[in-house]
């Protein structure tokens, strides 16, 4: 068949497909059938040596149809809920060894530094400069209008800072983990040192002790869990690079990235919540200390219980197949 005959014969089909791709036609349910006919056209055009502009045109159209048909996202109602209820806690439990390492890295280091400073206060100066320590001290003076911040700034003013600073720390911890996991671990440890020294230093003075602990105790639950999760996710990426198991490094990295994505999203979410608490709850001097401590106790036990118990025995998660794939990779 001559090319011009061929073009005339199928012009109608190509017009229809063009219209569907451009969004001008509503007959989208016809697209798969049209697409199969288009593929046949393309195969014929290639086999018969029709001109390159024609085959390029058909190829382009085939590509658009392919993206449209196979790229269509399957409706998955309650996706986020399934993620939060099942996948996130499951993935975290799967990585319990790393979680243990990260927990030790954070709490071990923080406790150690805190006790060191408590025991020999002058040691604080080897971690932080005198200026930083005295600013901290002033920020938590009982007389300060708004505890934990520089001055009489509104709560909302600090909210933006917490979001930008804290969530970015999580993201950087995760990403830098790709370099063999060490930077992620160091980032967690560094935050542990910081927290430990500040807590130890402020606990020395009874005045600041009474303001510091009620301030941090609530939001730190979300913030520290967030940091630890991003540390776990980052370390997993790095470890997979060192020990890819039976997969090639590329495949192993891909599988680990896929598996850790819910974890890093969970970390970001927790840190968001922490920012809300830190901005609007922690610094609120109107709330009695007892209430703050009880809310904090609820947050800490709630979160811990969530990671221990959520998603157990609920059947496979929204993408259970990936879970299996992930386990094989690990």
């Amino acid at each position: 068949m001559k090319q011009s005959q061929f073009e005339a014969e199928h012009a109608e089909l190509w017009r229809e497909i063009d219209a569907i791709i451009a969004g001008a036609s509503l007959q989208t349910e016809e697209l798969p059938a049209y697409y199969r006919r288009l593929c046949q056209c393309l195969a014929l055009a290639l086999q018969r040596g029709y001109s390159p502009t024609l085959t390029d045109y058909l190829q382009r159209m085939a590509f658009d149809c392919h993206s449209r048909i196979y790229g269509a996202v399957v409706e998955r109602p309650m996706r986020l809920r399934a993620w939060l209820n099942v996948e996130l806690p499951r993935r975290v439990r799967q990585e319990w060894r790393l979680l243990l390492v990260i927990t030790l890295a954070f709490w071990g280091v923080a406790l150690l530094c805190g006790l060191l400073v408590w025991w020999k206060p002058y040691l604080a100066y080897s971690f932080m400069s005198a200026g930083e320590l005295s600013t901290m001290h002033q920020m938590y003076q009982p007389g300060a209008v708004n505890i934990g911040r520089g001055g009489a700034d509104g709560d909302f003013a600090m909210f933006g800072f917490y979001i930008w600073n804290n969530v970015s720390i999580d993201f950087r911890t995760f990403a830098s983990g790709l370099l063999a996991g060490i930077p992620a671990l160091l980032s967690v440890m560094f935050n542990g040192v910081n927290g430990g020294v500040v807590a130890g230093w402020l606990s020395l003075d009874p005045a600041t002790r009474g303001t510091f602990w009620p301030f941090v105790v609530t939001h730190s639950s979300f913030e520290i869990y967030g940091l630890m999760l991003s540390g776990v996710a980052g370390m997993r990426l790095g470890l997979v690079l060192i020990k890819p198991g039976r997969l090639s490094r590329r495949h192993a990295l891909f599988a680990a990235g896929r598996r850790m994505f819910p974890v890093i999203v969970g970390a970001a979410l927790l840190t968001f919540i922490a920012a809300f608490f830190e901005a609007f709850w922690s610094a609120n001097t109107a709330v009695p200390e007892v209430v703050k401590y009880s809310v904090a106790a609820c947050c800490w036990t709630g979160l811990t219980a969530y990671f221990i118990f959520a998603g157990r025995g609920a059947g496979p998660g929204a993408d259970g197949a990936n879970d299996a794939e992930g386990r094989d990779a690990a």
């Binding site: 090319q3 001109s51 390159p52 896929r258 994505f261 999203v265």
Partner: protein, 224 residues
Amino acid sequence: MLDGRLSLTTPEGVRLSLTPAGPGARALAWLVDGVIWVVCLWIMLVIMGMLGKVGQSLILIWVFLANWGYPVICEVYFGGRTIGKRVAGIRVLRSDGLPVGWRESGIRNLLMVVDFMPVVYLTGLISMIYDDQFRRLGDIVARTQVVYVEKPPARTVLPKAAPLPLPFPLTPEEQRVLVDLFERERALPPGRLAELGSIAHELTGLYDGESLERMRSYVAGLVQ
């Protein structure tokens, strides 16, 4: 293949080809996005400066969204292209040729941090140089691919001529080359066309312009 294009085979047995975008085009996209970022930040600073402390907070929230959210939202909702990528004529796809989703886009943009280290995408550049598909680390982990957006080719109408049958059968590939010549005729200088006519002496038995006209007739015979 020699031309560096990626060839994907679909379930229908059709081959789709993609052209990976190199560091140059991607740097341009990044620069354009960077300039937009700076301009927007400057505007935000002016506006939010009037709002005092609350404005400062809003700026930081904006910086957060612009840094981490903007590329992901652009890639998921606007066909894999940020404004910079649009200018550079490139887009992000999954390496199976489909549009990126939240996970792919999220991972590749989070890992931008590593690709940026130690200065201005040095790690990413090294990774792109060593990878045969110009992928930076983020692309490798997320399994994505930055490709050129190919413009749909304009369908040219072949010049009319009196059709003639071929003196001997040509393979489809040879027919294709012949038709291609006349589809690109307007872009070629006359001297080169005459030269090509002489090269085709074996087919037409003629030289220069005459040979070219003869081939035109053959093409008309092939197409019409």
